[in-house]
Each structure stands twice: as structure tokens, then as C-alpha cells.
């Protein structure tokens, strides 16, 4: 039992960069194994599928960016230390995985085959986990989420339909052996048995639409690129996930990179491309590292390169790192960036499908779109359509953030309501806060007020109310969020990220931003509302690319649903949410006990007063940061 996982081949675990080809091909059903070798491989398959033989325990540690930052690495060291001390090295296998999604509760530890899910595990808990759970089979109640040991019972996971994320958090993203043991490349095998046209038809039949926000039917897009005759065609994956608060693509890359690679190979086969690029943000170092490793392993396993799986089809893949420009998420700007040019959108038509990268027909899809493709090929279009609505089939991954109890990454069926996402999956609002709206689609999207909580989410319904699906950011706002300020935040972002090429976007968003700044400083006038609407209309209808066309959306949708907040700023000189600094002042009440804490936390020394005497805020110096208000232990500071 001691060398459990290394049974097949020592290299497999010690250096996953070199996949065990025998094992990979056996798992894919391409190779027969005999005797001891087969026994070992079968054994390993069961381990990777979390069904190890009795007497063996698997401990899964989430190694997503979020859990890493909340201390996963020290946890791993601690486990190693305790296991060695308890002489369990070998009987217990530590597995590190990509993001499990329940980021709020990290670091996460999951134990198989017992299927026990521990949250917010600290290094000092490790010894208990080893001694009580692993050795004695006891569940430690205080590490459970609300007393639930089985993750499938936790509300956060219960309403999710994890398809794209089926392996996320459950396999080691750096080991192709684990991926193939869990169905990776099965879809590719099916695809290569079909004609490219039939692959396209299957994807068309599935109803899959672009998950990057546009919602263009994926199969149709492929069909157009396939129809364009050319000696060379390119396939590009858009992994330039730039929306503030969105991390769906990053998570897929970090937790199951082979899903993307498999989807891309299938797409390349369908459109007739032999070379592909993954354009990924340089701000995603872990994703880049894991994807690089996955591509390398796929090449070694014969899944990328010449004559893939003996099909005669060649496809190779390269990573290009973006330089941090939001606009490079726009496909023509992205193409320019890969070509080494400044990332500026170009005129359409010609569309990339006609004349894209290096002037050749090019198909661009985003990460989540590609990651859906293997599932469609593996399980069939009909299976895919089982969830979702008529025109928006399948699932969508959302990054649930903002003022909600449980933030994280969730995969839900299309057609689910916002209420279910926010209140059932997300656990609702934190104590004492009131739901105000959700923002979807990032800076290009719009807000959805409480009256639409029961709106089923799909491409059309969101568009109908002035929001959009976007790439999947879902920010929950509470009653302390000022909608004018919120619109200003997004407009500041789009203005800074505008490529500066077309006049309406470059100059128009700047003027809109200036108007919003005026309003939040109490200098707004009623005419400003009309000015905002005029500019918004012109920018939307004349901008050169999606960035400009959608930049006014946050303003338009807040004006639509929260106009009274704008009017309160302009006419009553008040910020109803109490968040615009200009309208707030802080005063110390006579009940002040003179503890001096406020004076000590004030970053600009605006508070003075003797010990045990009532303190005073110098209003000229005060920058209204609210530190004193938050810190006063006696509630002696008034905000008004």
C-alpha cells in the first residue's frame, strides 16, 4: 500500500510533466494492457475516480487562486508533516486541485471516499482531521458548512448543475492522467470519428451559444469559418477575461485545462484549422502555468500535434499573453495584439471568419464556450439541451460577488432565476443588508433591480431589461450602494480602457464621466440627465466596437431603474445610499468618551481632543473616509 499512486509508473506522480503514455492510452481505450500493468492501471483509475480500495484515503486540497491566497500552501505542508509523523504517508494521498468554487469558505478540504467536505480549514485543524476523520472516521462538526458533510447537500452546490465544472476541484489540473481518468478527450475521440460537418451539426443542434457575452450560435460561427476557403485557418481562444469581478475563464484554466484544449481541438477539426492560439491575460499567472503544462502533456500524449489519435488531423496550440488591455477582449483587437500590433479593434466587415489573424479566416470563441464542446460531443446534443431554456440551452457559469453571503463560482442551468442564484446558492444578503440590484455583464452590462428577481436568466430576457449575459460576472448590490456612484465606477473603467480610436467612445465617455462626477459632487443640474441620455445614445449607435457600444449601459440602466437616485443627488443634494462622500459629513456626539481611537485611526489627523474629553472633527481636513465611524467602539460618531 505504501506507494499507492506511484504503482503504475514512478514518473507519473513525481513528475506529471511526463505523462505515462501507457496509462493515458489505456484510459482512452486506445491500448490494451496485460497482467500486472493492467492491474496497476485499473487501480490508478479507481484512485483518480475517487473510489480507492479500502484502507486508503484521498485528501483533496483546493489549490485555486482564492484558496491559495487564504493559506492552502501551509495546509499542504502541515498535512505532509502530520502524515509523516503518524506514519501514514502512502496510506493517505494528498491531491491538490483547481478551484472548487466555494471561494468564500476556503481553504477547502475534501476527503474521499467518505466524501466529507471541510471549510475554512486552518493549519491547526490538520492534526484533528488526520487523527479524527482519517484514522477514526469521525466527522468534525465545526469544520462543516452548517453541519453538512456531503458537499452536494450544501445549498451552494445543491442548485448548481456542474457540467463544465464537473472536474473542477476534483482533479489535479497539472496531471493529465487524472483528466483522462475522468472523461477528458472522450469527446474528441467521438468527434474524430465524425466528419467535420457532422461535428458542426451536432454543436448547432445543441444550441450552444457564445459564452463570452455575445450569445452568437457557436455552430453557426464554425460553419461560416469552415465555408471560407483558405490554405490556412486559425482558431483562437479568447481568455482575456477583463470584466471586473469575473473569473470564470481563469477558473476553468486553473482547474481543468484539458477541457479547453479538447474543445479547441474539436473546433479546429470542425472548421479546418491546424493552428490555434490561447490569448490569456498575463495577470493570470497560475492559469498560464497550468495551461502551458497541460498543452505540453497533451502533446506528449499525442493529443496535440501531428496526426492526433491516428486520425490524420494535425493541430497545434500556442499561448499568447495579453498586455493588460481590456479592449483586447474584443476579437479584432485581440487579433491585432497577437499579430504584435497595438490592440485596437478594426472595422467589421471583414469579420474574422473571413479575414482574421494574419489575414486568414479565423474563429474566435471564449474559454467557457470551448469547454462546453467536449460535453456535447461526449454526451450528445440532446443531453446538452436537457437543461436550459429553448433558446438558451445548457448551463452558464457565474462569478457571484458583491454583497452576498457566499461568493464564488457557480454553474447553473440557463433559465434559473436571479433569486435562486442570490438567495439559494449565494445564501442571500449579509446581516442587516437589503437587496437592491444585481449587475451582470460587467462594465458592458446593466443592473437588474429587485422587481426582476424572479426573471429567468437567459440571453434574451436579460437583453430585454437592458442588462446582458456578458461573460458571467454577477455583482450583488445592497441598499448602501449608490447607483450613480456605481455607474461612475464602471464608466471610469471603460473610459480608461477605451482604445482611444473612435471619437464617440474616447471623447463621449469622458464627458459622461465628467457629468457623473459633477452629480456625485452635488454640482449636477437637471439638464445633465438629458445630456447623459444624448451622449449615451450617440455612443451606443456610432462606436466602432463592443466596448464603446456597451459603455453607456451601466448609466442607461441605472437611469432606467434608479432615476430617483440621480434626482436626489441633483435636486435634493442628497445621496440616498449614503455613499457619495460629498453629501456626507461625520460629527462626534457629546456622548464621546475620549478614548482617542478615532483620532488615532484618522489618516489625515482631522480629529483632535484631550483624553477623556469629547473629540472634534475638523471638517476642512476631513476626507470622509469613514474610518472613525467604523472604528468608534461607543457609536459616538454620527454620519449625516
Amino acid at each position: 500500500m505504501s506507494k499507492m499512486v506511484t504503482k503504475c509508473d514512478d514518473k507519473v506522480i513525481k513528475n506529471p510533466k511526463t505523462p505515462c503514455l501507457n496509462f493515458v492510452h489505456y484510459a482512452l481505450g486506445l491500448k490494451e494492457l496485460q497482467g500486472k500493468e493492467k492491474e496497476n492501471a485499473d487501480y490508478l483509475l479507481e484512485v483518480y475516480r475517487k473510489r480507492p480500495k479500502e484502507g486508503c484515503t484521498l485528501v483533496y486540497l483546493c489549490k485555486g487562486t482564492s484558496c491559495l491566497s487564504s493559506g492552502e500552501a501551509t495546509l499542504k505542508d502541515k498535512f505532509d508533516e502530520i502524515l509523516e509523523k503518524e506514519n501514514l504517508t502512502g496510506k493517505v494521498q494528498i491531491m491538490e486541485t483547481g478551484c472548487r468554487g466555494f471561494c468564500e469558505m476556503g481553504p477547502l478540504v475534501e476527503i474521499f471516499p467518505a466524501k466529507i467536505f471541510y471549510c475554512q480549514v486552518k493549519p491547526e485543524d490538520v492534526e484533528r482531521i488526520v487523527k479524527e476523520t482519517i484514522l477514526e472516521g469521525k466527522i468534525i462538526d465545526d469544520l462543516l458548512f452548517e453541519g453538512l458533510a456531503d458537499p452536494d447537500e450544501i445549498p451552494f452546490y445543491k442548485k448548481q448543475v456542474r457540467r463544465v465544472l464537473e472536474n473542477s476541484g476534483l482533479i489535479d489540473a497539472e496531471n493529465i492522467n487524472e483528466a483522462v481518468a475522468n472523461n477528458a478527450y472522450k469527446g474528441l475521440q467521438k468527434a474524430l470519428e465524425l466528419r467535420p460537418e457532422d461535428v458542426i451539426n451536432e454543436v448547432k443542434k445543441s444550441g450552444l451559444r457564445g459564452r463570452g457575452g455575445g450569445g452568437f450560435p457557436t455552430g453557426r460561427k464554425w460553419e461560416i469559418t469552415r465555408a471560407n476557403k483558405s490554405d490556412v485557418k486559425y482558431l483562437i481562444c479568447n481568455a482575456d477575461e477583463g470584466d471586473p469581478g469575473a473569473f470564470m475563464d481563469r477558473s476553468i484554466l486553473e482547474s481543468d485545462p484539458h477541457k479547453l484544449i479538447e474543445g479547441m481541438i474539436i473546433a479546429a477539426y470542425a472548421i479546418g484549422a491546424n493552428y490555434g492560439y490561447v490569448y490569456v491575460r498575463a495577470e493570470y499567472p497560475l492559469a498560464v502555468q497550468r495551461l502551458t503544462l497541460a498543452i505540453q502533456q497533451a502533446k506528449q500524449a499525442g493529443l496535440l500535434g501531428k496526426n492526433i489519435l491516428n486520425s490524420g488531423f494535425d493541430f497545434d496550440l500556442e499561448i499568447v499573453q495579453g498586455a493588460g488591455a481590456f479592449v483586447c477582449g474584443e476579437e479584432t483587437a485581440l487579433i491585432a495584439s497577437i499579430e504584435g500590433k497595438r490592440g485596437m479593434p478594426s472595422v467589421k466587415p471583414p469579420y474574422p471568419a473571413q479575414k482574421g489573424l494574419f489575414g486568414k479566416p479565423t474563429n474566435v470563441n471564449n474559454v467557457e464556450t470551448f469547454a462546453n464542446v467536449p460535453l456535447i460531443l461526449r454526451n450528445g446534443a440532446d443531453w446538452f439541451k436537457e437543461v436550459g431554456t429553448e433558446n438558451s440551452t445548457g448551463t452558464k457559469i457565474f462569478a457571484l460577488t458583491g454583497k452576498v453571503k457566499h461568493t464564488g463560482l457557480v454553474e447553473v442551468p440557463m433559465g434559473i432565476t436571479i433569486r435562486e442564484i442570490v438567495f439559494d446558492i449565494g445564501g442571500g444578503m449579509p446581516e442587516g443588508k437589503e437587496f437592491k440590484a444585481v449587475q451582470t455583464g460587467g462594465p458592458s452590462g446593466g443592473c437588474i433591480p429587485a422587481e426582476y428577481l424572479d426573471l429567468p436568466i437567459d440571453y434574451e430576457s436579460l437583453k430585454g431589461i437592458g442588462a446582458m449575459m456578458g461573460s458571467g460576472g454577477l455583482v450583488v448590490l445592497d441598499n448602501e450602494t449608490c447607483m450613480v456612484n456605481f455607474a461612475k465606477f464602471f464608466l471610469t473603467f471603460t473610459q480608461e480602457e477605451s482604445c482611444g480610436k473612435c471619437i464617440p467612445c474616447r471623447e463621449g465617455t469622458k464627458r459622461m464621466l465628467e457629468i457623473l462626477e459633477r452629480i456625485t459632487k452635488g454640482q449636477g443640474e437637471l439638464e445633465d440627465i438629458n445630456r447623459l441620455e444624448t451622449l449615451a445614445t450617440v455612443i451606443k449607435s456610432t462606436s466602432a466596437c463592443g466596448l464603446g457600444m456597451s459603455a453607456p449601459n451601466p448609466v442607461l440602466s441605472t437611469l432606467k431603474y434608479f432615476k430617483e437616485e440621480y434626482l436626489a443627488h441633483i435636486e435634493d443634494k442628497k445621496c440616498p445610499a449614503g455613499s457619495c462622500k460629498y453629501f456626507i459629513s461625520y460629527h462626534i456626539l457629546p456622548t464621546c468618551r475620549g478614548c482617542t481611537l478615532c483620532a488615532r485611526v484618522c489618516p489625515v489627523n482631522a480629529i483632535s481632543g484631550e483624553r477623556k474629553q469629547v473629540h472634534v472633527i475638523d471638517q476642512d481636513k476631513c476626507i470622509k473616509c469613514g474610518q472613525c465611524y467604523e472604528k468608534c467602539p461607543w457609536n459616538c460618531i454620527a454620519k449625516g
Binding site: 466587415p349 480602457e497 480610436k501 471623447e507 465617455t509 465628467e514 445630456r531 445614445t537 450617440v538
Partner: protein, 583 residues
């Protein structure tokens, strides 16, 4: 000719005017065919389409968003409106947005009255500042001797960037920064003078506003004119006579040779010479240099060296061709050198007292006069100031001289007696044609009658061919627009092409399309200027440089013979590889 497939036509309706236009036309092309004008700012038919300004936005029936007419292709039965309420509202707002971020100093701006932004503001009846707010602030770059950049007047149409890249292959400018702070700059914001810029001024011609302008020397010239102790001499390049009329409202192609000399005399120049004389000398020198190379079997190709933009380009990007350059100076420098030596000696004037001005169609000439090689005996500048065609027109207007109504007069002797060969230096192919008129006569020993070399003429960017001089086949190429030069030089380097003689002029059309000319990028206007130059050539009694008695006299009295030691001292130069910043 049935086998030539006729291009399919589609039916479009623009502003209720219906017609058939070729399939694949843009809405802008279609509108032109149907006689509908759509305003543009960033569009230039010579350049790739960027669709940046959105001013040409039009409404297509059934399309919720407006589309840019410059980029959007027509389709059958398309219905377009170029001035629907939505279009007009958007277009006006776009113009207002540009104005809001503009210095608004029209009254004291050099482009006052000749600015596309100003014209649009007038056309769309802008009467209020609707979107005033923060303005971009960037320093003016006046490091270059010829070209001044004022980024605050830039509307970011990108035409300068594209001209420099696509037509000249120089890549001196590009967009930097993002959003509201976007600005066009040289690489790493180096001063323009230290960059790869060759000062051709094509960016200036393309600029719709005053973001790129001349560095003006009219004040310097006026100061010299006002000094009684200074002898002011002036020369005019061949291309000026064919273009300056446009500055005074005359149609393109008006030839104003005699009036131009009168104007310059009225301005106060003591001696008015013709650069064409220097061109005739250049024919003699460069022609004989070619003959020597033919006799010595190389090195080939020999490149012409009249164009200072081309020389700077070669020194930056292709210094390996230095041995292939003709060592002959440009007609401007030859005329300048002869004025301060031959004429000074002949007329007994102290050359130090001469202020020598040249009127040039070219901004790079301002760089050329400051090259260290362009000094007499290493201490006296051959030329003291260059005025572009536009600057001269401004000077004339300031002095109240109405060029079109002036009587004609002749250039001063002897540097005013010229042949038709020197005149055609002002157009692409002209320098080579002028040289061949002499080289062919010398090599064949005959007075050849057929002196119009048609294969060298015309507007094509690269003209290739060969002429037989006796039994020798002389292979040539004539190139204008430096991106075309790159194509040829790369092939020569790889051994795929061979020529004996190559003429290069940096600017499209040659000097008639130079960066100092009246502002236009319209090929039709350039063609009219070219026609005017050929018209002057045909009207000349003497059309070969070596037949010009003043040239014969110059060699007898001063130089001896072409390529003589004295010629080498005053009329020939050398080149050095340069490594500017950002290369």
C-alpha cells in the same frame, strides 16, 4: 470581350436616389457614384480603412446601429440615409465632442480657413460649446527643423500614422496611451528630430487640423530682407510654379513661372534664380557619373540623390546602399553652392553677405541645408533658409502681393537660363528622363530627337523597364513612395532584381506632391501639377541640359568638366549611416 467577367452590380438607394453600383463597393464609394456627399475625417482613399472618426456614419434601413460608410459594403436593395435625424444628431455630437477637446484658438491658428474641423463646425452649424470639460494637454514638439507637432490639436484620425507606415514605410508615429489620454507620438516619445522621421511632410499634408504643421522660417527671411547690408538671393524649385496658384484660388495645374519671379522681386529679393539651373548641372554630373559606372561596370544600381527624404531614409534603413548612391548634391544645394561661389565671384559679392533662400515644395529640404556636408569650405552654409510653397504664399499675402494678377518676368542670369530637362525634376521619373536625354547623346555620340521617355512617366508607384542606348540595354526603375522602395531594395539585396539606375523620390508623384506643397492628398490634383511641368518642358526651346548655353558657360568659366575636382569640392557630397532612436 465576353471572357472578361463583368463585375456584378447591386441596387442601392441612398437618400432616395437609386442606382446600380459594383458589388463590394463601400457605401461611401456608392454615394460618390450617386453624387451624394458624406463627410469624412479619417478616410483617405490611399490608405487602409480604420473607421475611427465615425463621422461618415449613416443609417441603413432595418439596422438599429449606424454604420461607417467608409467601411461598410453595400448589398442588394440596401436603403441608406445619410442625413436622417439620427445620423444628423450623432454627427453633430461627434463634431461637438471633437471641438470640446480642441484648443479653440482658430483665429490665431496657422490652419485658420484651411481646416477640416473648422469646415465641419461651420457646415453643421455648431453654435455652442455643449460638452466642455477637461482637455488633453501635451507639449508641442518643435525639435524638428521642418515639422512641428502639436498633439493638442490632434483629433486622432490616425492618417499621419498610416501615411508614415503605409505610404512611406518609415513608421515614425503611432498611437500611445489609452482612452481620453490617447496620443500620437514618435517611439518612446523621443523628440521627432531624434527619430526615424525623414521629414517628408506627408503626415502634414494628410493632417486635417494644425496638429502637424510647418516649422516656419518666414520671419527669418523677412529679417534678412529688411537688412540693407545683406544681398538676398532666392531660387525656386521646379514644382513651385505648377502649384502655388492653388494657394491663390487658381485651378490646379496653373503654371505661374513668370509671375512667380515678379512676385519674388517685389518681395525684395536682389537676385531670383531657378533651381532648374542646378538640376541641369545635376544632369551633367549625375549623368557622367552613370556613364563612368557603365564604363567601369558598376557598382549598380546607381541611385539618384536629389531627394533629401530618400537620402535620410537610406541612411537610416539601408546604409548598405551608400556606395550605390550618386554622390551628386541636389539641385537646391548645387544652385546654392554656385550662388555663393560662381555668382559671388562673377559679381564680386562677399559670399558671407549673401542670404540665400530657396523656395521648395519639400519639408526635408529644411533638413538638407543643415547637413554638415552642405557647407562651402566647411564654413559658409550654401542655403540659409528654406520656405515651402505654403510659406511663400503666406509671405506674399502678408505683403499684399496678389500673384495671379502680376505681370511676368524672367529669372536672373546666369542661373536663370534653364533647359526642359531640369524642369521635369519636379515629377516622378523626371530626374531619370533628364539624365537619359544627356547620357544617351553622350554614349551614342548623336543628337537624339526622341527625348520623351514614356515608360518613365505616369503615376505608378514602381515603374520598371529598360532603354537601349546603342546596343546597351539600360535597366531602370523609377519609384515614388518609400514603402515601394522597401519592396525593391529588399529584392535587390536578395539578388532577385537587378537594375543599372534607380530614381527614387520620397513623395507620391515626386516633388509636385512634396510635403511643402499646398495642402492636398488628391491624386487628381497631383496629376494636374505633373501635366503643368511637362507642359513647361515642351514649351522650352532647349530641352537637354548639355545644350543649355549657360551650363556650357559654367563649365568653361568655373567647373572645367563634369566630375572635375572642382565639381567634387562644391557639387558632390557623401553619406553616413545613421542610427536614430526607436529604429
Amino acid at each position: 470581350m465576353d471572357f472578361i467577367k463583368k463585375k456584378k452590380e447591386v441596387k442601392v438607394t441612398i437618400d432616395k436616389i437609386t442606382g446600380f453600383v459594383p458589388e463590394g463597393s463601400t457605401i461611401l464609394d456608392a454615394a460618390k457614384l450617386l453624387g451624394v456627399r458624406i463627410p469624412t475625417l479619417c478616410y483617405d482613399e490611399r490608405l487602409s480603412i480604420s473607421g475611427a472618426c465615425r463621422l461618415c456614419s449613416v443609417e441603413i434601413k432595418g439596422n438599429p446601429n449606424l454604420v461607417p460608410a467608409c467601411a461598410y459594403p453595400v448589398s442588394d436593395n440596401m436603403e441608406v440615409s445619410t442625413h436622417s435625424p439620427k445620423v444628423m444628431r450623432s454627427r453633430k455630437t461627434i463634431i461637438e465632442l471633437l471641438l470640446a477637446n480642441h484648443p479653440q484658438d482658430c483665429l490665431i491658428c496657422v490652419r485658420n480657413g484651411n481646416c477640416q474641423l473648422q469646415d465641419l463646425a461651420a457646415e453643421y452649424g455648431i453654435r455652442e460649446w455643449r460638452w466642455l470639460g477637461e482637455k488633453r494637454e501635451n507639449p508641442i514638439d518643435d525639435s524638428s527643423v521642418a515639422i512641428q507637432r502639436n498633439p493638442d490639436k490632434c483629433i486622432l484620425c490616425g492618417k499621419c500614422v498610416k501615411v508614415c507606415k503605409e505610404i512611406q514605410g518609415v513608421h515614425a508615429l503611432d498611437f500611445t496611451k489609452r482612452g481620453f489620454n490617447t496620443v500620437v507620438l514618435p517611439a518612446f516619445n523621443h523628440p521627432l528630430s531624434e527619430t526615424v522621421c525623414i521629414l517628408c511632410g506627408q503626415c502634414l499634408l494628410a493632417c486635417p487640423t494644425a496638429a502637424i504643421t510647418d516649422k516656419s522660417y518666414t520671419k527669418k527671411v523677412r529679417t534678412a530682407l529688411e537688412d540693407p547690408d545683406i544681398i538676398c538671393t532666392v531660387q525656386t524649385a521646379p514644382a513651385i510654379r505648377a502649384s502655388i496658384g492653388e494657394e491663390f484660388g487658381m485651378p490646379a495645374g496653373s503654371l505661374l513661372t513668370g509671375k512667380l519671379t515678379t512676385a519674388l522681386k517685389r518681395v525684395g529679393f536682389d537676385l531670383v534664380f531657378d533651381t532648374v539651373f542646378g538640376a541641369d548641372v545635376a544632369v551633367m554630373e549625375e549623368g557622367h557619373e552613370l556613364i563612368e559606372r557603365i564604363k567601369n561596370n558598376g557598382p549598380f544600381p546607381m541611385f539618384t540623390s536629389c531627394c533629401p527624404g530618400w537620402i535620410k531614409f537610406m541612411e537610416h534603413f539601408y546604409p548598405e546602399f551608400i556606395p550605390n548612391m550618386s554622390s551628386c548634391k541636389s539641385p537646391q544645394q548645387i544652385t546654392g553652392a554656385l550662388t555663393k561661389t560662381y555668382i559671388a565671384e562673377k559679381m564680386n559679392i562677399d559670399p558671407e553677405k549673401i542670404f540665400n533662400v530657396s523656395i521648395m515644395p519639400c519639408s526635408a529640404k529644411k533638413f538638407e541645408i543643415n547637413r554638415p556636408e552642405m557647407m562651402i569650405d566647411g564654413k559658409i552654409k550654401e542655403i540659409d533658409a528654406v520656405l515651402t510653397t505654403r510659406e511663400l504664399a503666406r509671405l506674399l499675402r502678408t505683403y499684399g502681393i496678389n500673384l495671379p494678377s502680376l505681370p511676368k518676368s524672367d529669372y536672373d542670369d546666369p542661373l536663370g537660363k534653364t533647359s526642359g530637362a531640369g524642369v521635369i525634376f519636379g515629377v516622378t521619373g523626371g530626374m531619370m528622363e533628364a539624365a537619359l536625354r544627356t547620357v544617351a547623346d553622350v554614349l551614342s555620340g548623336k543628337e537624339l530627337k526622341n527625348i520623351e521617355y514614356q515608360p518613365l512617366r505616369g503615376y505608378k508607384g514602381i515603374k520598371e523597364g529598360s532603354v537601349f542606348i546603342g546596343d546597351m540595354e539600360l535597366k531602370f526603375a523609377v519609384i515614388h513612395g518609400l514603402s515601394n522602395v522597401r519592396k525593391i531594395l529588399d529584392k535587390i539585396k536578395s539578388g532577385d532584381l537587378f537594375y543599372h539606375f534607380i530614381e527614387v523620390m520620397a513623395c507620391p508623384g515626386g516633388c509636385v506632391g512634396g510635403g511643402g506643397q499646398p495642402l492636398t492628398t488628391d491624386e487628381e490634383i497631383l496629376k494636374k501639377r505633373i501635366a503643368a511641368i511637362y507642359q513647361e518642358d515642351r514649351a522650352k526651346p532647349i530641352r537637354k541640359a548639355h545644350d543649355n548655353p549657360a551650363i556650357v558657360q559654367l563649365y568653361e568659366e568655373f567647373l572645367g568638366e563634369p566630375m572635375s575636382p572642382k565639381s567634387h569640392i562644391y557639387l558632390h557630397t557623401k553619406y553616413t549611416p545613421k542610427t536614430p532612436k526607436g529604429i
